[in-house]
Point group: C3
Chain length 304, copies 3
C-alpha cells in the first residue's frame, strides 16, 4: 500500500492511508521520545534537499530518521549546490536518486516536489513547495487533534490569523472538511481564506471576523502568524495583529478542554503566559512531527 | 598496498592499484544501490573538508561512507570555519587529523591536497584542487568505460567541448593514453587541450575541430561544458557551444554501441532528448562515483 | 551525580565532578583515537546549535559523539534558521528539546546557554556564550596539564597574551587558582586580566609585562592570540604582538620540561619552528577535547 509511494500532496492519501500512518505513528511515540531504541531503518539513507531554509521541518525529519537508526545526507543551502552552475532540478534529482533511499524536498516553487517525484525512482516526500502543499504538516496537525479528542468528526475547529498566505491552513481546511469537522474561519477581511480553497472543501465553513463569535464553543483553535509585511500601514498591522492574538485573557473565555495549536514559529500571536495553561498544545504538536515522519519513512521504505 | 595511502593524483596509482580499486568497486555495486547492507566501515569517521562547494562530489563521498556503515563530519562553507581567523591550512589539517580516520579535501588552490597529505597522519583523498587533480573523478570515468566495454585498450575515445579549462579531461586524457585508448580531442581552437597535457600523454592524440570528423566511429564521447564566461562575445559563445552540443540528431550518426559520458552538471551541451537513448551513460557514470569511492575508502582504511 | 546535569559554567562543577570527568576521559582516549570501537551512545542524538561559527569546538563534539556510536543533528548557520522569522531562543530550545537527547549550544550572547538550560529538559552543554563561559575548553585545558604533570597544584602556570578579551583564560585562571596552581599573568598593559576575574580567583596572581620575568621557571605557558582589531595603531600592534610571541629562540630559555599550550587557532603568536620542539602541546591539547567531551556526553546522558 505504501512501499515506494511519493507523498507530494495530502490528496495523494486516502482515509485508509491516513489511518494507517496514524496507527504506525502511535507505535513510534516511545522511540521518538528516546525511551525505546530502534534499528528499523539501519542502512537506509535519507536525502534532505532544502532549497530554502526550514530548520524545524528539516530537523524533525532528521530526528525521525536517526531515531530509527537511519542516516542522512543533503544540503540546506541552495547557493552551495551545483544548481548555481545552471543544472536543472531534474538532473539534481537524478543524481540524488542514485545516492539515497528516500528524498525529502523543500523548494520555493510550487510543483517542484511533483517534478522531483517524476524523476526519482526512490520515494519523494514533499516538505513544502512554495504556496503549494506541505502534507506531513497537515498530517501532524490532524494527528494532534486525533490524539487529543480521539476523533475529528463533529469537532468545532477554528482556523485563525492569516488564512490567505498561511500555507499550512489551506490543505488543513480541506482535510478537516473531509474528515467531518465543523470548520470555522476567523481572519481580518484582507487575509481571508482564498476562494479556491473554499471550493475544494467538502462543506461550507462559517466565516468570522471577531474572535468573540467563536471563543466560547471552539474545541480547537489553530492559530497562524499574521506577518507585518502584509500590511502597507504599520499601525494597521499592530491593530489587526492584536485583535487576533491569543493571550492569558482570551484563554479564560475558552471551553475547559479547548486546545490551542500553532504550526510554529510563533511571534506575538500567542503570548508566553498561554504556554503554561492546560490549553497549549503547540509544543506537543511540534513533537508529533517526529512520530508522524517516522511512520511515513518506515511505510514508504516498505519496512513495515 | 593501500592501507594509509594518500590519493592526491591519479599518477600516485599504478595499473595494479587501479585494477584492484575496480575489482573492489565491482563488489560494492549492490551495496551502493542499497540492495545489500554493509557494516564494513562501522566506527570509522570521514572528514569532508570542502573549501569550495561541490555538491555532487561531497554527496557521493558521503553516500559511499554511509552505505558502508561509517560516519561523516566536516564543513562545506569555508566562511564558517576558523580559517577566517587566519589559521593556516596546515593547522586546520592537524586538527581534523585528530578527529577523523580519513580526510577528503576539496580546495580552490592547486597543491592544497598534497600539503594536507603531508600534515595528516590519516589518509587524504583529493576531491579536486583548483586547476589540479581530481583523481576519484578520473577513476570513475575509466571505470564506466571498463564496465561498458570490458577494456579501454583500442577504444576510440573522443574528449570534446572545453578541453582547455575543463579540469577533469586533463588527467583523463593522460590516463587513457597510458591505458592504450585511441584518444581524439575535439574542441574550438580557443579551448584546445593545453600543451603540457599533450606532453604528458603516452601517445599523440588526433586533434579535431568538427564533430563530423569523429561522429561515426567514436566508441566513447566524453562531453564537457563550454562556459559562457570564456567568451568575450556572447554571440560567439552561442555559435561555438551549439556546434559542440550532442542532440538527438547527432546521436543518429553514432555507432550503435557508442556511449556518451559527461562529468555533470550539464547545461545545454547534451539536450534532454538524448537522455532516453541507449547511448546516454552520464547518469550511470555519476552513480559509479559511489562504488569507486566506497572501494577507495575501504582500501585506504585497510579494512579490505 | 551527572545524569541530566547541565554544564553551563565551570563553577557548576565540584572538584569531585572534575576528577570523575578526567577519570572517564582517560578511559576514552583509545576510543577517541579510533583504536577501539564503542557503541556506548548508540541510539542517542546530540543537537549542535551553533548560533555563531566555531569549527574546532563543533567538530570535536561531533567526533566525540560519533566515536561513541551516537548521532548528530543541528545547524551551524543561524541565518538559515527559523530565528530569522523572529522566534525566541526559548521556543527554539523547546523544539530542539523534543528532537534530541543532549544539546550543545554556542551563542554570541552571554547567558544564552543558561537560558537554554532552563527551557530544555535534556542536558545542555555550553560551548561558549559571548564573553561568558566555555567550560569544556577549561576542562580540556586542565586535563592537558594533569596528563602531563600528574597534578596542577604547585605548578607555575603563566597565562599570556590577550588576557582582557581572551575568553578562555578567564575561567581557566579562576579554576587554576582553586586547584592550587601558582598563576602568573603576562600581558601588555592595555590587555590586562579584568579585575572581576582577579577577584574571583582564590589567590592573588603575580602580574608581569615582560616575558623574561617568567621564561626560566614557568612550567606551563598558556598562550592566547593578540588580535589586531584591539589596537587603534597597527604599528603598535606589531610591536606588542611581537614581544609576546613564542619563537624558537624563546623556547631555548625555557625549563627542560616546560610545556606550551594554546586554545587554537593560532596565528603568529607561536611560530611554526616551535611545533617540532618537545615543549609544544597545543595539538595534543586540541586532541584532548575529544575524550573530555566524550566523558561529559556519556556522564550527562547517564550511560556511565
Amino acid at each position: 500500500m505504501f512501499k515506494g509511494k511519493d507523498i507530494v500532496s495530502i490528496s495523494d492519501l486516502t482515509k485508509e492511508h491516513i489511518d494507517r500512518i496514524f496507527e504506525v505513528a502511535r507505535g513510534m511515540i516511545p522511540i521518538a521520545k528516546g525511551e525505546k531504541k530502534s534499528k528499523l531503518l539501519d542502512g537506509y539513507i535519507l536525502a534532505n534537499l532544502f532549497f530554502e531554509p526550514s530548520t524545524r521541518t528539516r530537523l524533525s525529519f532528521e530526528t525521525a530518521m536517526l531515531r530509527l537508526g537511519g542516516s542522512i545526507l543533503g544540503f540546506t543551502n541552495p547557493s552551495a549546490t551545483s544548481l548555481t552552475k545552471g543544472e536543472t532540478l531534474a538532473d539534481t534529482i537524478r543524481m540524488i536518486d542514485a545516492y539515497s533511499d528516500v528524498i525529502v524536498i523543500r523548494h520555493p516553487l510550487e510543483g517542484a516536489a511533483r517534478l522531483a517525484a517524476e524523476f526519482a525512482e526512490v520515494p519523494v516526500i514533499n516538505a513544502g513547495d512554495g504556496a503549494g502543499q506541505h502534507p506531513t504538516q497537515t498530517l501532524l496537525d490532524i494527528f494532534t487533534i486525533v490524539e487529543e479528542f480521539g476523533h475529528v468528526e463533529g469537532l468545532k475547529v477554528t482556523l485563525m490569523g492569516d488564512l490567505r498566505y498561511g500555507r499550512t491552513v489551506h490543505s488543513l481546511a480541506v482535510a478537516l472538511s473531509f474528515l467531518g469537522a465543523d470548520v470555522h474561519l476567523l481572519s481580518p477581511r484582507s487575509l481571508k481564506m482564498p476562494r479556491h480553497v473554499l471550493r475544494e472543501m467538502k462543506s461550507k465553513p462559517e466565516i468570522h471576523e471577531q474572535i468573540d463569535e467563536v471563543i466560547r464553543d471552539t474545541d480547537v483553535f489553530y492559530v497562524t502568524r499574521i506577518q507585518k509585511e502584509r500590511f502597507p500601514d504599520p499601525t494597521e498591522y499592530i491593530k489587526v495583529a492584536g485583535s487576533y492574538a491569543i493571550t492569558g485573557d482570551t484563554v479564560k473565555k475558552m471551553k475547559k478542554d479547548a486546545i490551542i495549536m500553532h504550526p510554529l514559529p510563533r511571534v506575538n500571536e500567542i503570548t508566553p503566559d498561554v504556554d503554561s495553561t492546560l490549553h497549549a498544545r503547540y509544543f506537543k504538536q511540534a513533537f508529533y512531527g517526529v512520530p508522524i515522519r517516522m511512520a511515513i519513512l518506515a511505510l514508504v521504505l516498505g519496512v513495515i
